[in-house]
């Protein structure tokens, strides 16, 4: 899938509340890492850096990995910029997140799993989940 063209001068002005699409990718286990690298490069090109960039990439990666592991094995990622902020939506067609995923308590240190959503939620400004039997959609807004 080709990257949407950069609107360039005269294109939509992100400061005016327009959404500028940066990247759309379908992914599965085989492309998880490559898509993460693309999201990182694209986000960096559009102004994210340092700890904010790292936390965002960690968060996006947790959600794409969840889609591969628990959401039917594949998903679609969209990255865009709006009002100067970088946002990402990850959608899958899996069975939906279990109710326990709404539990926001920290994971005890001796537990080997269960930290993905905690890390994702704590790495971004806004974290929105829509989930049901037809799939899950998570939207992340970078700090």
């Amino acid at each position: 899938m080709a990257e949407p063209p950069d609107p360039g001068p005269g294109g939509p002005d992100p400061s005016a509340g327009h959404r500028v699409d940066l990247l759309v990718r379908d992914f599965d286990l085989g492309t998880l890492v490559a898509v993460r690298h693309e999201v990182e490069q694209c986000s960096e090109r559009h102004g994210l850096s340092g700890l904010a960039l790292y936390r965002f990439i960690v968060a996006v990666n947790e959600i794409t990995t969840n889609a591969v592991r628990h959401g039917g094995g594949t998903g679609r990622l969209r990255l865009w910029r709006t009002d100067g902020r970088i946002c990402c939506e990850v959608t899958d067609r899996g069975p939906g997140m279990p109710a326990s995923s709404a539990d926001h308590r920290p994971v005890p240190p001796e537990s080997s799993g269960g930290r993905g959503l905690w890390l994702a939620r704590h790495g971004v400004r806004r974290f929105t989940v829509r989930t049901g039997t037809g799939g899950t959609s998570v939207t992340l807004e970078a700090i």
Binding site: Y54, R55, N61, T65, V107, P109, E110, S111, G113, G116
Partner: protein, 103 residues
């Protein structure tokens, strides 16, 4: 360069060096390499060098917790050393600094 190498240092401690990106696609293999070495060598201490780790995800963190538990079962001390400031921030968010022997 492999994502993990394991060496025994004078005194018998196991010195684990992690590199690059540790994520869902390689963390199970990394866990096996380290836990096998702990089980075989029964070292008095396990030190995990993290300076060259550029990216870590929750399955990589889970792998470190499993190594910590394997070290505990072998009565070995466990410590994570020299994470980058980004990975340090992540381990703080995960609530693991004290468990991993980090200040």
């Amino acid at each position: 360069m492999d994502a993990v190498s394991v060496n025994t240092v004078p005194g018998g401690a196991l010195h684990v060096v992690l590199r690059g990106e540790i994520d869902f696609t390689n963390s199970a293999w990394v866990r096996k390499v380290i836990c096998d070495a702990v089980a075989e060598q029964r070292p008095p201490a396990v030190r995990v060098e993290m300076a060259e780790v550029a990216f870590l995800d929750s399955s990589g963190i889970g792998m470190l917790v499993d190594v910590m538990r394997a070290a505990g079962e072998a009565d070995a001390a466990f410590r994570v050393e020299h994470p980058t400031s980004r990975v340090y921030d992540q381990l703080r968010t995960a609530g693991l600094l004290a468990a991993f022997g980090l200040p």
